[in-house]
């Protein structure tokens, strides 16, 4: 990573595009406080990471589920709710699972769920505490059409409710549909960074191909 500078305000969504190895996931891990930058800093709600008060605002969705396979979906989500100190963790878990339309399968151990259903539980886990900042790394991994639609609706709802989103994806159309800003990364740098309003997906796809070729 070198010279990356960006700011995502409440109610905005930054979509990060780029080929494998461009530094998208590294950017996200820096923003989550999972990596410490050798220089520079990442701040969440004005608070420097990885302070617990800053992490309180964060939600992370990854292409890995970050779930415990021996526990049920409900237990996984409720465990997360308890870690965040929610006053009624079980009710919060139920709400999150319903939002992802997975409540009816929530009492099954995660290892018995399909990959797509596991991803829905993983998303429920990430949003259970109502984070102000949602970081999503390839969140559409494993989701079927219904799941992808539910996720897009949920991310839009979170963004419109004032959450800041950073979305890493290879899917230009889905990314641009949500983004208020778009960036293309290559070799650990932003090679293009602009407001997404008015961007034509087809033209942007051509630009993307030209830039990462």
């Amino acid at each position: 990573m070198d010279g990356v500078r960006c700011e995502v305000q409440a109610g905005e969504c930054l979509a990060l595009f780029g080929p494998n190895g461009a530094g998208k996931t590294t950017t996200l891990r820096l923003l989550a406080g999972l990596l410490t930058p050798t220089s520079g800093e990442a701040r969440i709600a004005g608070l420097r990471l990885p302070a617990p008060t800053a992490r309180q605002h964060l939600g992370l969705i990854s292409h890995r589920t970050m779930l415990y396979e021996a526990l049920t979906g409900r237990e996984n989500v409720a465990f997360s709710a308890r870690l965040y100190g929610l006053s009624d963790p079980d009710a919060a878990a139920e709400r999150a699972l319903r939002a992802l339309r997975i409540a009816d399968r929530a009492d099954v151990p995660v290892r018995q769920l399909s990959r797509g259903m596991q991803q829905r539980v993983a998303i429920a886990r990430a949003i259970v505490h109502g984070p102000d900042v949602l970081l999503a790394d390839e969140p559409y991994t494993g989701l079927d059409e219904q799941g992808a639609t539910a996720l897009t609706a949920l991310l839009r709802e979170r963004r419109d409710a004032g959450a800041a989103l950073v979305l890493v994806t290879h899917h230009l159309h889905e990314g641009l549909a949500l983004a208020t800003h778009a960036a293309i990364m290559r070799g650990g740098r932003f090679v293009r960074y602009e407001p997404a309003a008015g961007l034509d997906p087809a033209a942007y796809a051509s630009t993307y191909r030209a830039l990462v070729a």
Partner: protein, 228 residues
């Protein structure tokens, strides 16, 4: 929504780890089988005319506990590595030390559980008379388990994301186990030989001192092991 404190977060993590172990029972059963097998193998290799039971049993006991404990210690971070669950723990607003403490608490229950079965088995096989020394023997077990678990949890966390975690954990942890196992074995030998309790105090003090040092040092160092 208010961030949880150190102990509350640690309790939550320990409960979660124990729930996972209770569901799968894989590590506990493996550790238990290893303990019982070791006790049986040592028993059949033992020549009672050459070595007395009281001389052999403490060594057998602590070799068994040390190696069976490693099985559970390795698993404690294995469940976090499986699907990247450690990342979810790390971004949660809990102190890094709470992760260590929670894991260590769950590991302590695990090790004590194995000891609770293996110790009577050892007494039964070797016919050593424990008599009134039971409470003191249990005290030695608990003190030693605390030290072993503190060191083991630190190194299990350190090696969790390495490709050779199963190999690296014993290589790194075993040298640090020596200051715990040595006084524990000495105190156990005195107790099994029916010596007065006062004779074990010096070893118990050493054990307690190492426990305090290791628990404090491991809690302090643990957050640094989580850096990517």
């Amino acid at each position: 929504m208010s961030p949880r404190g150190l102990l509350a977060s640690a309790g939550l993590i320990a409960r979660k780890d124990l729930a996972i172990e209770f569901r799968t029972r894989s590590a506990f059963l493996s550790a238990l089988v290893l303990s019982l097998l070791a006790i049986v193998i040592f028993y059949f290799a033992w020549d009672p005319t050459a070595v007395g039971a009281g001389d052999l049993a403490p060594g057998v006991l602590w070799v068994t506990f040390t190696f069976s404990g490693l099985l559970g210690l390795h698993r404690s971070f294995g469940v976090e590595a499986q699907e990247g669950a450690m990342d979810a723990l790390l971004i949660a607003p809990v102190p890094r030390q709470a992760i260590f403490l929670g894991k260590a608490l769950a590991n302590l229950v695990f090790v004590l559980g194995v000891q609770a079965v293996a110790l009577p088995a050892m007494v039964l096989f070797y016919g050593v008379g424990v008599g009134a020394a039971w409470p003191a023997l249990i005290g030695v077990m608990v003190l030693a388990a605390i030290g072993l678990v503190a060191i083991g949890t630190l190194f299990a966390g350190l090696t969790a994301n390495t490709r050779l975690a199963e190999l690296l954990l014993p290589v790194l942890a075993l040298p640090f186990f020596v200051p715990i196992v040595m006084p524990a074995a000495q105190a156990t030998a005195k107790l099994l030989a029916g010596r007065p309790l006062a004779e074990t105090f010096a070893w118990l003090r050493i054990l307690l001192a190492f426990d305090l040092v290791f628990v404090y040092a491991c809690m302090l160092v643990f957050p640094a092991t989580l850096d990517d």
